[in-house]
């Protein structure tokens, strides 16, 4: 547990919470990244696209600020490019089928005490832990 960062993680978590609360308070929108992204892939009117684009522009600007201010905050994955491609497919397809990801279910839905989101969150945490167990301790490649 030498990399344990309870204070920074709590502060970051509160900022994430305020961003979610702000989007709901000002715009009535649920901050679910997979939904915001997948809706942009749809064709259709600009009315439904522009708020998502403005939000994502803010998100990317946040990433650029992190790169300038504390670049060590943006790490790299230990997984190979092939593994990342498979992981991306699973994340994109799974979040679409399950109607949400870590932000939509894990933060927004959990905060509303939605039974669906609590079930989804427990499920993806469990399969995430199982996957890491298999990759790190059964196959033993990435460790």
């Amino acid at each position: 547990m030498e990399n344990f960062t309870p204070v920074a993680s709590t502060i970051g978590g509160i900022m994430i919470g305020l961003a979610v609360a702000g989007l709901y308070f000002f715009n009535g929108r649920i901050l679910g990244i997979s939904n915001i992204t997948s809706e942009l892939l749809k064709g259709g009117g600009s009315k439904h696209r522009i708020w998502r684009l403005v939000f994502l522009a803010g998100l990317i600007c946040g990433g650029l600020i992190l790169m300038a201010w504390r670049p060590e905050a943006i790490g790299t994955s230990p997984t190979s490019l092939g593994g990342l491609a498979l992981a991306g497919l699973l994340v994109g397809f799974g979040a679409s089928l399950g109607r949400g990801c870590t932000s939509g279910h894990g933060i927004c839905g959990m905060s509303r005490l939605s039974i669906r989101s609590i079930s989804a969150t427990l499920t993806f945490m469990a399969t995430g832990m199982l996957t890491v167990y298999i990759v790190r301790h059964v196959i033993g490649g990435a460790a």
Binding site: N3, V54, G58, G88, V91, G92, L97, S103
Partner: protein, 149 residues
């Protein structure tokens, strides 16, 4: 002002993810690695984010409508379905494999590193694959939901 609040929500969300450690896939994997060198930090991320929101969601819900919109959007579905659980299970497998989920991966594109773009492109492909295979079943998107309050 409406656009500024949207932009700032995205900005604050990204900075929060970065400070919390969510944009470090190794840290995310260390959180999921409960039988290895476990790093429980992400429990604190979720605790902070959900803690703030449980309170503010309730306060906001007392308003008749959001500041810059005529209605709050709500997910319409209430039941736990097989699709929900299978989808979440598939999502979790990808999350554990890469250490990326959609938000932190998008934020990490600021590093301009190739691997995160591979992940993002595959994620978009996965979303399109779902859309192609599920044509005609798109009845429960958030945008189609009428206001409940």
């Amino acid at each position: 002002m409406k656009w500024l609040t949207l932009f700032l929500s995205g900005l604050l969300f990204a900075l929060g993810l970065g400070i919390a450690g969510m944009t470090q896939p190794e840290k995310v994997i260390a959180f999921l690695d409960i039988t290895g060198n476990w790093d429980p930090s992400l429990m604190f991320v979720m605790g902070g984010a959900v803690g703030v929101n449980i309170l503010l969601y309730r306060l906001t819900s007392r308003r008749p409508c959001p500041v810059y919109s005529t209605q709050f959007t709500h997910p319409r579905h209430r039941k736990i379905t097989v699709r929900l659980i299978i989808g979440a299970a598939i999502f979790g497998a990808g999350w554990g494999l890469a250490g990326y989920c959609p938000g932190p991966a998008l934020v990490s594109t600021a590093s301009a590193a190739i691997p995160v773009f591979v992940f993002i492109l595959a994620m978009l492909a996965g979303m399109l694959l779902f859309r192609i295979t599920q044509a005609g079943h798109e009845d429960d998107d958030v945008d189609n939901i009428s206001a409940e309050k």
